[in-house]
């Protein structure tokens, strides 16, 4: 059973388009995250939700909008895609009881042309 899953795995789109990435976890965790990993492998947190409430919102363009319909799902919608948005986006989940150890999804490689 996949603990943290993301769809799609690959996403190729043109500048100006709007796209969404979906994430689901079946670990019973109460906290979920979106990270962006750039071409140099730097990993930066973007957002975090705890029980459907936004608790971390780093300096991210407002073209990026997360949505958590329930605590097992966290989606990321990106408007007006730009070349610089090309990266790998990882979803993760954790819980306080496990010291916020991060469980990562397989990643979505977004390429904007």
């Amino acid at each position: 059973d996949t603990a943290v899953s993301q769809t799609p795995k690959y996403l190729v789109t043109q500048m100006g388009n709007d796209k969404s990435i979906k994430c689901e976890q079946n670990l019973g965790h109460d906290t979920m995250y979106w990270y962006k990993q750039d071409s140099k492998k730097f990993l930066k947190i973007m957002f975090s939700y705890n029980n459907k409430e936004l608790i971390i919102n780093e300096t991210v363009p407002n073209r990026f909008s997360p949505k958590s319909p329930d605590k097992a799902h966290l989606n990321l919608h990106i408007n007006s895609l730009e070349l610089g948005d090309s990266a790998v986006y990882f979803c993760a989940s954790s819980s306080r009881t496990s010291g916020y150890e991060q469980y990562f999804g397989p990643g979505t490689r977004l390429t904007v042309t």
Partner: protein, 114 residues
């Protein structure tokens, strides 16, 4: 604010060599410390973690790390690396009071030559 510094950006070793990757963090309170590994083309997965207790922690695949509180360090070690250890290694810190926010270092690329 918490921060993490990994000193080595790219390390190249031959098989059977010993490995030590440096990690220092900046935070005045109690922290949880982690090392994650990312094999080529894959997602990050946990190598080992430190919450409390014995400062020498052992993880998967023969890795270990030592928490030295006075130095704010959590260095990763392995006595004898294998070609399959070629990967990106990330140190991370999480302060329990920080709403579950983990801060990651910039990563160290380890290349092991056969």
């Amino acid at each position: 604010a918490q921060s993490v510094s990994q000193h080595n950006h790219h390390v190249i070793l031959s098989e059977a060599a010993s490995l030590e990757l440096g990690c220092n963090y900046s935070y005045g309170g109690t922290v949880n410390l982690f090392w994650y590994v990312q094999y080529p083309g894959q997602h990050l997965q946990l190598l080992l973690k430190y919450f409390s207790g014995d400062p020498l922690v052992k993880g998967i695949k023969g890795f270990e790390a030592e928490f030295i509180k006075s130095k704010f360090s959590f260095n990763l070690r392995k006595p004898s690396v294998q070609w399959s250890d070629t990967a990106e290694y990330f140190c991370a810190v999480n302060a329990d009071t920080n709403a579950g926010k983990s801060t990651f270092g910039d990563g160290t690329t380890l290349t092991v030559k056969p």
